[in-house]
Every structure is written in structure tokens, then in C-alpha cells.
Symmetry: C2
């Protein structure tokens, strides 16, 4: 695997993250690189150099990714460097959180029906909620794949 090819792939992952989830570019690059790097644990400095970002930027991005539990800090005794690795179920978490976000709308829809009563206006709200609930129900019924 050439470095160029790897970085090109990382960039595609990053673009996907930016386009589909609205993540900042560097956040996406970190995720992409942590998916294919060897070894899977990488220091912030090494990542910064690889993807061409500042260390300052890495600090905030790693903190963010750690906070939402997509990556994990790894410390080694006798080494002041902190390493990071992607969580095994990182992408499953992302998918699940997106699905969970849909339930917000169900609440909004219910309150909307209270506002409009039971006329033709309620149909638009019902149709919207049906689309959201449909996907949510599917995801609840069928279990996600094991790791």
C-alpha cells in the first residue's frame, strides 16, 4: 500500500464524513486514517504529520472524537505519548445515533398534531412522522450485526 494511495482513500472517507454528517474535514481525515493505519494506535503528532494538520488542531479534534466515543485514548507505561485508536464499533455508533436523532421528530410531530387538530393540515405531519418512524421501527426490530 503506497502512502499516496492510502491518503487518497483517507480523503474519500473524510469527504464522506463532511458531506453526509457535516463533520469538519480534519475530523474526517483522522477517522479515515485511523481506519487503515498500522499499527491501529497512533500518536497525535504522527497523525498530524500524516494528514497534514497542525498539532493544535489534532488536540481539539481528538478531544471531540474521544468525547463522542468514536476513538479511544491509549496510554503506554513509560511513554509520555498518548495514542489513539478507533473504537471497534465506531461506525455502528454513528449509525445508531443518527437513528436515535429521528425520534426527536416523533415528539415534534405529536406536538404538531396537538396544534393542528384533526384536519387536513394534520396529514402533512402524519406523513412526515410515518417516514421517520418507519426507519426507526425497522432498526429496532432487526438487530444490528455483531462485531
Amino acid at each position: 500500500m503506497s502512502d499516496d494511495a492510502a491518503l487518497a482513500w483517507v480523503e474519500r472517507v473524510a469527504t464522506f464524513c463532511v458531506d453526509e454528517w457535516g463533520l469538519p474535514p480534519i475530523t474526517g481525515r483522522v477517522l479515515g486514517w485511523l481506519m487503515i493505519c498500522d499499527p491501529p494506535e497512533q500518536s497525535a503528532g504522527a497523525i498530524a504529520e500524516t494528514i497534514g494538520a497542525s498539532r493544535a488542531s489534532l488536540t481539539s479534534n481528538m478531544r471531540y472524537l474521544t468525547a463522542i466515543e468514536l476513538i479511544r485514548r491509549v496510554r503506554k507505561p513509560g511513554d509520555r505519548t498518548t495514542y489513539f485508536r478507533i473504537e471497534d464499533d465506531a461506525w455502528r455508533k454513528v449509525v445508531h445515533r443518527k437513528l436515535a436523532g429521528l425520534s426527536t421528530f416523533t415528539t415534534i410531530a405529536r406536538d404538531g398534531l396537538d396544534l393542528t387538530g384533526d384536519g387536513p393540515r394534520s396529514e402533512r405531519i402524519r406523513a412526515a412522522d410515518a417516514s421517520m418512524s418507519w426507519l426507526q421501527k425497522l432498526a429496532t426490530q432487526d438487530p444490528p450485526p455483531a462485531l
Copy 2:
């Protein structure tokens, strides 16, 4: 239904659109208002006044929403005003497009496996793809609700 209550509800829909889909606030407000307004057809000027945005902003937002087919232009003979109404299946379209976006990742994953070969590094890619494909498969198998 008081106007205040309606506008508060519209704002919640807008916030949802901003948070979950990264739409601009005004775009979300337009969608929200078009869900509960009476009649369902509204002129750009009327919408602008209701949600407190400029007419210029409405022009671009309506063009955008029309382009992605979430709202529809309605013209009435003998009336120079153009009206807009939300598509009956607007939210279903949104959900489906989000799902379709996931397939992009399947392609990326496949190319990633070509890069990494069949070692431990490929596991991270496989796990990611499994989460995406899982949801996609579910959605393909079970039909969405009819309108």
C-alpha cells in the same frame, strides 16, 4: 392555534433540520411552516413575513427546496404570485436520500479492502461497512409506508 404557538413549533422543526441535516435555519423554517400552514399553498412574500426573513432570502431558499423536490411551485391563472406547497412525500424523500448516501461508503469500503489486503487492518473497514449495509438492507427489504 395561536400564531405564537405555531411559530414556536416551526422553530422546533427548523432546529431539527439544522441539527440533523445541516440545513440553514431559514430553509428549516420554510419547511416547518409549510407543514402546518393553512392553506397549504403560500406565497414567498407571505412566508417571508411569517417567519421573519427577507424576500431575497426566500427566493434562494425556495429555489433550493424546489430543486431538491421537497416543495413544489404552484401558479394560479390570473395571479402573478407564485405559491409553494410542500410535497406530500417530502420527508420520505429526505429519509431515502440519507439512506442512499450510505451506499457511497460501501464503495469506499470495497476500495479500502483492496488497499489493505486481508490482514487485521481490513477488520476495521469491514466493521464499518457492515453497519452501513445493515441499515441499507433493512430499508430495501421492508417497503416504506404508502402515503
